[in-house]
């Protein structure tokens, strides 16, 4: 198959269908809300279809649609469409039952902790830690460098451990710090990116 040749509509749709569950999983962990996520997925489907001529056959449909989904999400976040909108219904779902002396991890706690992270860090830990993407793939999806991605994941892990293991919810992230990177965070990321 020659580079750059577009997929037939049928093949495109087939690849899109295979990606759907991943789009839902990515959207749900990112937004914390099933309904929001499914709206996002539908928007993503429509946008992907409209732009299908630009999809390169043989490249990753998942990565390509993830970019569309995260761009849609972050742009809607900026318009305050669904801020802090995580789902309380799933509060008691247990995600992992670790060693005897540890409490089981509930989905609601993890989702709440994820929503405490900055958008960039949340996206990073979801792509790498939950979705199993390589750092490089994750960096490509998020439109950043490998070093920055590594830094985001490591900071996200540290913050999540602080919240989940010690019950340490940061007061600073209670509201304002949640939707965009602070200037300090950007600087720290840049330092990490240069040293990692």
């Amino acid at each position: 198959m020659s580079e750059g040749a577009p997929l037939s509509d049928l093949d495109f749709k087939k690849e899109l269908a295979e990606t759907l569950p991943h789009l839902r999983a990515f959207g749900r962990s990112l937004s914390g809300n099933p309904d929001t996520a499914d709206d996002l997925v539908q928007d993503t489907l429509l946008k992907a279809w409209a732009a299908r001529d630009r999809f390169v056959a043989g490249s990753s449909m998942r990565a390509w649609t993830f970019v569309i989904l995260r761009n849609t999400y972050f742009s809607q976040m900026r318009q305050n469409k669904f801020k802090g909108n995580y789902d309380e219904l799933v509060a008691e779902r247990i995600l992992s039952t670790p060693a005897p002396q540890q409490d089981p991890l509930h989905l609601a706690d993890l989702q709440r902790a994820l929503m405490e992270l900055s958008d960039d860090q949340r996206e990073a830990i979801i792509l790498v830690g939950a979705g199993g993407h390589s750092y490089q793939d994750a960096a490509d999806i998020a439109g950043t460098t490998l070093g920055t991605m590594k830094s985001r994941v490591s900071r996200a892990r540290a913050t999540l451990h602080g919240i989940l293991d010690d019950g340490r919810f940061t007061e600073a992230s209670e509201g304002s710090n949640n939707s965009t990177d602070s200037a300090l965070e950007k600087i720290l990321e840049a330092v990490d990116a240069a040293t990692l």
């Binding site: 489907l45 409209a50 001529d53 219904l89």
Partner: protein
């Protein structure tokens, strides 16, 4: 719709209660971490993977499949290459 979600959730509770061992391994480091740190990492790593996997395991909602089916029909008359601008 919300009712469907709830019944599905019940199934997943059981699945989630027995985290798979591969996920544990993937997060097990060997760089001299304390046992406690290791366990905390397993707990987070497993939780993240299970959170994601739970959604993958859900059946797709009907309206999403319907939308996918309709994609071709929306612009069926004009043809797929009429919106090429590159």
């Amino acid at each position: 719709m919300p009712n469907q979600e709830e019944t599905k959730d019940d199934d997943q509770d059981q699945k989630s209660a027995s985290p798979d061992q591969n996920a544990t391994k993937a997060f097990a480091g060997d760089d001299g971490m304390t046992f406690e740190t290791q366990q905390a990492q397993d707990r987070l790593g497993l939780g993240l993977k299970n959170m994601y996997q739970n959604v993958l395991d859900e059946p797709l909602p009907d309206n999403m499949m319907a939308l996918l089916d309709q994609l071709g029909e929306l612009d069926g008359e004009t043809g797929s290459d009429s919106n090429s601008d590159e």
